[in-house]
């Protein structure tokens, strides 16, 4: 199996608070890795380190064999890291469609030079992005909301828009930060189906999630984090069977 993401000996601390303590992770093409652990374990921080929001104190991050730990946030997205956020961070004064149109890996419309000198390529990119956005919205069952203000949608739909926006980036790695928090019913089913389809299509997916049944249904492998350290890695069943971990997690 091709390894998409390789994290080696990653360390990060804010003063005395250690958010990554010698973290090692590998995710392969088509795999969905679950990342579980109590609040404050460093799961979101690990996402921030991988996607480039935070710079590691030491250690390396490789994407498709290329070292990326020196690259700024926006460059990592361009070479193929798509991510969602725990609190979605949607563009609240924009429509659903506009939220998606801004998100492809390449967006020539952000360059004044291309806008003035290569208008045809900008127009072309717009047409393609619109097409891709409609396909994605269709997949999550929200094609009808394309022109609605994103804040007018119910919470579960906003979560799906957060996922859809990330999917506009067709890169190899997809990081999902608590996709199921506050999501239920039909949106839950959709979320599960789409994430599975993305892995089947060849993406490497990593999911931070407190919803154990979601992890159980989707992930073959999971890692358990606490205090910035990976305590155990293995199949989901193995992790759930470990008494030490469940005690830590559920705080019994």
């Amino acid at each position: 199996m091709t390894v998409v993401l390789r994290v080696e000996n990653l360390n990060k601390a804010f003063g005395g608070i250690v958010v990554a303590d010698n973290v090692n992770i590998e995710i392969s093409k088509g795999e969905i890795l679950g990342l579980i652990g109590p609040n404050g374990a460093g799961k979101t921080s690990l996402f921030n380190l991988i996607s480039g929001v935070l710079k590691p104190d030491s250690g390396h991050i490789h994407l498709n064999g290329r070292r990326i730990d020196g690259l700024p946030l926006y460059r990592r997205a361009r070479i193929g890291i798509a991510r969602t956020w725990q609190n979605m961070l949607l563009f609240t004064t924009m429509t659903v469609m506009e939220n998606l149109l801004i998100a492809p890996r390449s967006y020539p419309g952000e360059s004044i030079f291309k806008l003035t000198l290569a208008r045809e390529s900008v127009r072309q990119a717009e047409v393609e992005a619109r097409k891709r956005a409609m396909q994605i919205l269709d997949r999550v069952g929200l094609a009808g909301t394309a022109d609605a203000m994103v804040t007018d949608l119910p919470f579960g739909h906003q979560k799906l828009i957060g996922l859809s926006r990330a999917l506009m980036n067709d890169g190899d790695l997809l990081l999902l930060d608590e996709p199921m928090a506050g999501v239920e019913g039909a949106a839950y089913e959709t979320m599960q189906r789409v994430v599975r389809q993305e892995a089947e299509a060849g993406r490497a997916v990593c999911v931070v999630e407190h919803n154990v049944s979601f992890i159980k249904d989707l992930c073959t492998r999971a890692v358990f984090m606490s205090n910035g350290r990976i305590l155990q890695a293995g199949t989901v069943d193995e992790l759930l069977a470990s008494k030490v971990l469940t005690d830590l997690y559920f705080g019994v």
Binding site: S51, G52, V53, P72, L73, Y74, R75, A77, R78, R83, W85, L89, L90, F91, T92, T93, M94, E98, N99, L101, I102, A103, P104, R105, S106, Y107, P108, G109, E110, I112, L115, V122, E126, M149, T151, D152, R165, M168, N169
Partner: protein
């Protein structure tokens, strides 16, 4: 008549200033108070080039714009690298510091400013021709900014202002967009400065004091921040109304504080009655649209 035309030239120049300030602060969300100094850079550069080198006015004005752009890029690169909010402090320092420099150098005329800027257009048609030029450039500015803030680039600016972290994590280069928006806005202010210098043939430091950014901001806010036509309406109102009352022939003791009173009254009225600005409530601008839907949905919920 001459007087009214001169006021109209001034209005055109302030439409350019308020529109470009709106691009930076209203659309770009870049908090700066240095707009008057870029206006000054354009004015002084044009004036000096015109006097000492006798260059054609068009060349002088463009050179003024280029100086303003270069200065704004330097300021933005250094300030924005630290953090977004830092720009406000850095711009204040830049505005105050550079104006002091202008006041103290010999070649800028010191506190007295520069007079005897060459007259480029002579004859009875001077003022109408200037009005035509300034008016056209004002219209061009409004058009250009409308082009920038709509379409793919405007979408990027809006998204950046809404949620910069998510915007960057999608692969968009927020730093470049900020610097470009800032440079375009300040470059346009530089052009306004050049027009001012050649029309009035006189520039002095007090025309570019930091307080003028408050006047420009008032125009933007009253007209409607983040709308294309807002700054136009704001500039017309805030220059025309204080001038109009001079026709009332009030005694000077009443006249003098009148401008300040009108200014303040307008700001207070708008804050309470029309916080989105005069144009803000009318246009189909999204922010305004949002407020409307929020209100109606809140009303429905009650």
């Amino acid at each position: 008549m001459e007087y009214i035309l001169t006021i109209m030239v001034l209005i055109a120049i302030f439409v350019i200033l308020a529109s470009s300030y709106n691009l930076v602060i209203g659309y770009g969300g870049l908090a700066t108070v240095a707009h008057p100094i870029f206006y000054a850079l354009g004015a002084y550069t044009s004036a000096l080039l015109g006097i000492h080198f006798g260059l054609p006015a068009v060349v002088c004005v463009l050179a003024g714009a280029i100086v303003a752009i270069v200065a704004s890029v330097l300021l933005a690169l250094s300030a924005l690298r630290v953090a977004g909010d830092y720009l406000l402090i850095a711009s204040l320092g830049f505005q105050l510091g550079l104006l002091q420099v202008i006041k103290n150098f010999e070649f800028t005329g010191g506190p007295g400013g520069i007079s005897a800027i060459p007259n480029t257009i002579t004859g009875p048609w001077r003022t109408p021709v200037y009005l035509l030029i300034c008016g056209s450039i004002a219209a061009l500015t409004v058009w250009l900014i409308a082009r920038i803030v709509h379409g793919p680039y405007g979408r990027a600016i809006t998204a950046m202002r809404d949620e910069e972290l998510a915007f960057s994590a999608l692969g968009r280069n927020a730093m470049t967009i900020k610097v470009v928006v800032f440079a375009i806005g300040c470059g346009i202010a530089g052009i306004a400065g050049g027009l001012y210098a050649f029309y009035f043939q006189y520039v002095s430091p007090e025309q570019f004091e930091v307080l003028h950014s408050a006047a420009m901001l008032t125009m933007v806010v009253l007209g409607g921040m983040g709308t294309t036509m807002g700054p136009v309406v704001g500039a017309v109102m805030l220059i025309a109304i204080p001038q109009a009352i001079t026709f009332l022939n009030l005694p000077p003791a009443v006249m003098a504080p009148m401008q300040g009173i009108i200014f303040t009254t307008l700001v207070m009225l708008f804050l309470f009655l029309r916080p989105a600005g005069l144009v803000g409530g009318l246009s189909k601008d999204r922010m305004a649209g949002r407020t409307a839907t929020e209100k109606s949905s809140a009303g429905a919920a009650e």
